[in-house]
């Protein structure tokens, strides 16, 4: 039973353009690039361009008691999750599971906490920062906010993690362990992440992300959330386990293997994860001859949040273009290929 199907009952998304699918959709239609800001390594003065989410887009959620000291990653997650839950009309309860996907987790607090250790000594490191460095801090805050006492999971992986989290949620539904699963994917940025990706020559020096045209990617913050339901929703979603990638050479085979797990889909749209890096050539193979949307041109590469953002955008594209099927192939730099099929 490799592929699993359920319904999307509600969705939410946060991108550098704002909160909600409307702002992301308008930017993609207009071909607008995300707003870019500069971060600097204070030790070396090295500068990097990234696309952050302005704090005013998540300010309303920061008033939640558990979120007052939380890092951006939790605020982004909570903003997307709140929108998805509201759109679904579902009231969270003990039969609601939560699955959160992250890539780097709470990078800002982690860097700040370690910086304290290095610069001023272990005895000065703040106990207020450390708990927020734990990967499941966003999930814990979400569970508290929504009063969930059942299954809560945080998954970690590369940029495919959003679709992995969807499949995990689909598995929980298939096991009969929940009636709804809130799946969230989220990512925040920090200069140290920008510097690490630059070291691997993955980022663009121009502050632009040009999928299928090379030049490197633009790292971005963001989040996405969907409420999965066994019985009803505005879109049907099929997910597969995917395939691990051991190195760059194995990526095409891994993506092929993931797509073959989906079976013979005839999608109207391919909403791929092309981001201006070596991944693009792999995605290009699977979209040959089909209508293709590469949303990272407009919203940036949001790492752990990106695959689920693709899914939310795919569902929106189907609605706007009155189409039936969108294929979402996902591939990260260092873990896994995956795929999801969205149908309306």
């Amino acid at each position: 039973m490799s592929k699993l199907t359920c319904f999307i009952a509600g969705a939410g998304i946060v991108t550098p353009h704002g909160s909600g699918i409307e702002s992301a959709s308008a930017a993609l239609e207009a071909g607008s690039a995300p707003p870019v800001s500069e971060v600097t390594n204070p030790e070396t003065g090295r500068r990097h361009l990234i696309a952050t989410v302005a704090p005013n887009f998540t300010a309303h959620i920061a008033r939640e008691p558990r979120l007052r000291r939380a890092s951006a990653i939790s605020l982004l997650a909570a903003t997307a999750a709140q929108a998805a839950v509201a759109a679904s009309g579902m009231t969270p309860n003990s039969r609601t599971a939560l699955v959160v996907g992250v890539s780097n987790g709470c990078a800002q607090y982690t860097r700040r906490f370690y910086e304290q250790i290095v610069k001023t000594g272990a005895n000065t490191a703040s106990p207020l920062l450390f708990p927020e460095t734990v990967h499941n801090a966003p999930a814990s805050h979400l569970a508290a906010m929504l009063k969930l006492d059942g299954a809560t999971y945080t998954l970690i992986g590369d940029a495919s993690i959003g679709v992995q989290a969807l499949h995990f949620g689909n598995q929980i539904l298939a096991m009969g362990d929940a009636d709804h699963v809130l799946v969230v994917a989220t990512e925040e940025l920090d200069w140290i992440l920008a510097e690490g990706h630059q070291l691997w020559r993955l980022t663009s020096r121009t502050g632009k992300c040009t999928p299928h045209a090379g030049g490197g990617t633009l790292l971005a913050e963001g989040a996405a959330a969907v409420v999965l339901s066994r019985s009803d929703g505005f879109a049907r979603i099929t997910t597969v386990p995917g395939h691990s990638i051991m190195n760059r050479r194995s990526a095409p085979h891994a993506l092929d293997a993931s797509l073959s797990q989906l079976g013979s889909a005839q999608p109207d749209w391919i909403v791929d994860g092309a981001n201006g890096t070596w991944l693009d050539a792999v995605f290009a193979e699977c979209s040959r001859g089909r209508k293709r949307l590469s949303p990272k041109a407009g919203i940036g590469e949001a790492l752990g949040a990106s695959a689920l953002q693709q899914v939310v955008i795919a569902a929106d594209v189907l609605r706007r273009t009155n189409s039936a099927q969108a294929l979402v192939p996902t591939l990260g730099w260092n873990q896994q290929a995956g795929a999801a099929l969205v149908e309306i």
């Binding site: 000594g121 801090a137 569970a143 006492d149 992986g157 096991m175 070291l199 691990s244």
Partner: protein
């Protein structure tokens, strides 16, 4: 099964150490702890490798993977579900410290940092590229991974899943627990009245889980049966359990219901038992409430420290060893009962006994709680 922990490399060494009640906590030398209150940890044995760039977490995972292969060469996983908390964090620390100078080793440090790297290294050692789900549910991760893998098999989604957990010691997490004053300057004394905190540990453990009939058909060695899994979330606080024990209580009662077992049918509880004041109190109250039959309880963290995302997986291996070899692992460094909860602690020395069913607890930051039930094969 395969395991690396401060108790040794492999199941045999672990079983001997458990029976002896060996205290494997030692001073930390891998980073500077002069400004920390706590100065000890449980260190896994050094694992040499031809690939000098391999992170210690990868080495432990590869060692555990190869032990599973040696024990059951015919096991071919369809998927992997692995728990961790901090991945290759120590290489992230080295990267941070090397900011002012750029050198070639930085790329390797970054390559080792992601949590998926040790998992992929272990899969590569097995010649497998199956999809891997990596659960980061703090200190419950290992049990969550085993529990989810068990459910995948029971639901017929997969027949064979490689499940487990890993974590390697690193400075950031060590200082983190120290800053919370959750780490002790004393010995680790789970459930003792005068317990004063945990010490960290490290390790990796993997279990090959397979649908029973499938395993029987191919003549696989069947070491134990997983029969129940319970998960709960306690929303009280990011780092502290609700004092009532409601989170652990829900996880244990859900695991019992899942296994269709009554509390009196459980012969041993391998407790989470970190030896912090709050954890042991919450867990102790919950165990006393759910298990009125005075089931024997021990925490093995007194011997090896708290290995975070690996703990649930390592302790599941210990439970299987206890089931198969007929003994109760001891709760070492125990001196005086805590009057706040009435437990039948397996104090200081192992006990021989026949076991049919055991329960293993793992709880973590974020209020996540997991319990699994393992049974002897009939």
């Amino acid at each position: 099964m395969g395991v690396v922990s401060p108790l040794g490399i492999g199941c045999r060494e672990a079983a001997w150490a458990l029976r002896e009640g060996r205290d494997c906590i030692a001073p930390v030398t891998m980073f500077d702890v002069s400004k920390c209150r706590s100065k000890t940890a449980g260190h896994a044995p050094y694992l040499p490798s031809d690939d000098t760039r391999l992170h210690p977490a990868s080495r432990m995972m590869i060692s555990a993977a190869l032990e599973t292969r040696a024990g059951d060469p015919g096991f071919v996983p369809e998927a992997a579900v692995i728990g961790t908390t901090s991945g290759g964090m120590s290489d992230g620390e080295h990267y941070f410290r090397s900011q002012k100078t750029r050198h070639r080793s930085q790329a390797a440090m970054l390559g080792n940092y992601p949590a998926q790297r040790p998992v992929l290294d272990a899969l590569r050692a097995l010649g497998s590229a199956v999809p891997a789900q990596i659960i980061a549910n703090a200190c419950a991760s290992g049990s969550n991974a085993i529990g989810h893998a068990f459910r995948l098999i029971r639901a017929g989604i997969h027949d064979r899943v490689l499940a487990g957990g890993y974590d390697a010691l690193c400075e950031l997490v060590f200082v983190g627990f120290d800053s919370l004053q959750a780490a002790t300057t004393d010995k680790v004394r789970p459930f003792d009245r005068h317990r004063s905190g945990l010490v960290l540990g490290e390790g990796a453990a993997l279990l090959t889980l397979e649908e029973m009939e499938s395993a029987r058909r191919r003549g696989a060695p069947i070491l134990a049966e997983i029969t129940g899994y319970g998960i709960s979330t306690d929303n009280h606080h990011l780092t502290q359990p609700h004092p009532s024990g409601i989170g652990p209580e829900m996880a244990m009662t859900r695991a019992l219901a899942d296994a269709q077992r009554e509390p009196h049918e459980i012969g041993y509880i391998n407790a989470h038992g970190t030896a912090t004041v709050f954890n042991d109190s919450s867990e102790g109250v919950a165990i006393a409430k759910v298990f009125c039959s005075r089931v024997p309880v021990s925490s093995t963290k007194g011997m090896m420290g708290h290995s975070l995302g690996a703990a649930g997986a390592i302790e599941a291996v210990f439970c299987v060893l206890a089931l198969n070899e007929g003994f109760l692992p001891p709760n070492i460094n125990y001196r005086e009962p805590d009057p706040a909860f009435d437990l039948n602690i397996v104090a200081n020395t192992a006990r021989d006994t026949e076991l049919r069913a055991v329960l293993s607890n793992s709880f973590g930051f974020g209020g996540t709680n997991a319990s699994i039930i393992l049974e002897a094969v009939r």
